[in-house]
Amino acid sequence: MTAANPGLRLQAATFGLTTEEFDLAAERLGREPNALEAAIIGAMWSEHCGYKNSRPLFRAFPTTGPQVLQGPGENAGVVDIGEGWGVAFKMESHNHPSAVEPVQGAATGVGGILRDIFAMGARPFAVLDSLRFGNPDSPRTRFLLSGVVEGIAHYGNAIGVPTVGGEVTFHPSYQENPLVNVMALGLLRHEDLAKGTMGEVGNQIVYVGSKTGRDGLGGAVFSSANLSAASQADRPAVQVGDPFMEKLLLEATLEAIQAGLVAGVQDMGAAGLVSSTCEMAYRAGLGLTMNLDLVPTREDGMVPMELCLSESQERMILVPVPGREQELLDLLAKWELDVVTIGEVEAGGRYRLTWKGEVVCDLPVALLNEAPKYTREGVESEDIRAKRERDLSGVPVPGDLGAVLVDLLSHPTIASKRPIFERYDHQVMTNTVVVPGAADAAVLRLKGSRRGIAATSDCNPRFVYLDPYRGAAAAVAEAARNLACVGATPLAITDNLNFGNPHDPGVYYQLQQAVAGIADACRALNTPVTGGNVSLYNQYAEGDHKVAIHPTPTIGMVGVLPDVTVRATMHLKPGPHTLYLLGKHATTIGASQYLETVHGLEAGRVPDLDLKLEQKVIEGTLALIRAGLTSTAHDCSEGGLAVALAEMAIAGEQGLKVELMAPKGVRPDAVLFGEAHSRVVVAVPVGQEPEAQALLDELGVPFTMLGESLPGSDRVTILVPGANVQLSVNLETLKTAFETPLREILG
């Protein structure tokens, strides 16, 4: 056993540990760890692997329900979609790697989340990407955006999983620290559900995939550490992904699982070999010994620390079913992957590593997996409170509200994302029924079944910034509403919590409140949390002054369509239709994109969120679609009702005329551009209004008739009689405003 080095405690920080944590580890261990052990503990106790700041908060999450086949704790959650099928899904961030090298950072983000999915025994069939960038006109944003999009396209297109949705928003708080959250979905038969476990004593531990190099060394530590000028030095830590190798690994892993040869499986993600093997041992309540000399290496002279923590991509750990080891090895060899048996599972719960015939690490598996948990004092920042409580009555109503509509449509956050998703293969696998840009969620068919699967990812960071609890709950509500708008019943969520430094009480408050908001919304809407990922320290250090990102709890949600041919999209269909608003008119401009874009104010209260109303609106939307009374639905989000209507007209290449009967005394700009939640616009074919209204009344869904679609007309006309406002804009003008901005940014 390599002796401990007395000076080590002083260097605790270099292993990502505080001296307190170092002492705690030494105490639990009954001795001082050696350097390798300290590095391993540091990696496993990092936020990324250990969740020391976030895990305690997760207790609030509802994680069960008849639809949940696998909740949090595995590589991905799994929901039951009927007929013996399950959908595995999970979202993960690659924020800091993407800030350093956008192309490879984003590409390896896709690779990592896909491995989490096929490690569950599921075949990946869809990817969604949720992206946040800074000021759209800055060269850095162009560089990051085009790099990230290229990286996602490079990896996703090559491996052949369609990228079917996502979101892209712009806000100065992401200028230096963009967010790259990637969600993946996979399909499996219930009986193929695999787990990240070591199984039983005596099992072999098989390493398969790429050789190990010095890539992304200390990546786990790296991605949880503050991003600062120092990250220049982290640059060699960039990892390069190879979708071709991943494709071989995917096919080999699924073939092995379906052949019943695999007792346990997990990808090597953050903190590479160590985190995967000791998480698997922990889940099995066992220990192991591995021989580091057997790890396939790409470079000479690699030392244990490198072998243990390297984040070389496209590597997995497989545990063969006892007695079928050789079958598994032969199968994997056929795919020309590096395959080596590197160790064995043992009783006793020790995590033992040997190198050159010497034991170089001997730690309790529990110690590694039970990072200290911190619950801190959250305190809301005064100036955010002030922004929220700010009195907006003095904000003037612009004279030309038509011009405002055009401005909003051309804001990069609202404008069409076609220039981005056209670079993604969104049709490979020939299942994509509703393509990106066509509706509020993507819809995929399930070959050999009538069912359809829908997915979306959502978060409005401005809401969360101004009111973390309500904003996070609203993200869940919006995701569920988006699924309803295509005709899908919401099933469950995965979340990706992107926040600043939790040691900052203001940031910790945001984290606490956001988790509580997600938990309550998930309970109310019956969409349990099946997993997720936490990314903290998303802020940029400039000298001693820190810029934290807007708190961004991205919600990924999956739903099911009983019949994929019964669905809705957002474009106005041919033939005359009557337009309805389900839900209630907006009454405030608080926290709206309009207020920020037109009046330069990020302020005001986030509109009230009534989750019972949300549930009603979702029921009403689904009922209309499934009764065949509408095939056109679109929810109101950034830019409010006016923008939603304009988008439906642009997509349908026809005009419309509506009268917004707002409650007395409500400002017209609130009715037009306010961002009240729980609102869906639907189009009912003329003649079927009585049926539709009867159905909504029966369900107790509040609604108002707005007006009519105008096939053949090229004008979008919106009246607010209460405030004798009339705006009427030519379709071409709206279309240009909507479609140009991102083409210009992406070049």
Binding site: E101, P236, V240, G241
Partner: protein, 89 residues
């Protein structure tokens, strides 16, 4: 003003994975070209610059560093030849 032909060689840093090289190497062995190893694939860039040698050299160095290569992952070296030195051009 003199004209210069520059040749720039951009290669991945040794410790960075080269998926292309790895795949090509394996393919070559399948096509039984034996005894081939260490395949690495990089970029070879030709460009023409005009100016006095000194300024051209400074400009080229900057171009290679900032545009033609990604210092995070790549090494680059270059050679400069004055047009009239270059045979047949």
């Amino acid at each position: 003003m003199p004209t210069f032909y520059a040749q720039v060689f951009v290669t991945l840093k040794p410790s960075i994975l080269d998926p292309q090289g790895r795949t090509v190497e394996r393919a070559l062995s399948h096509l039984d070209y034996a005894n081939v190893s260490g395949v690495r694939i990089g970029k070879y860039i030709e460009l023409t610059l005009t100016g006095e040698r000194a300024e051209v050299e400074t400009e080229l160095a900057a171009i290679v560093e900032n545009v033609l290569s990604n210092p995070i992952m790549e090494n680059a070296r270059w050679e400069l030849k004055e047009a009239r030195e270059v045979a047949g051009t």
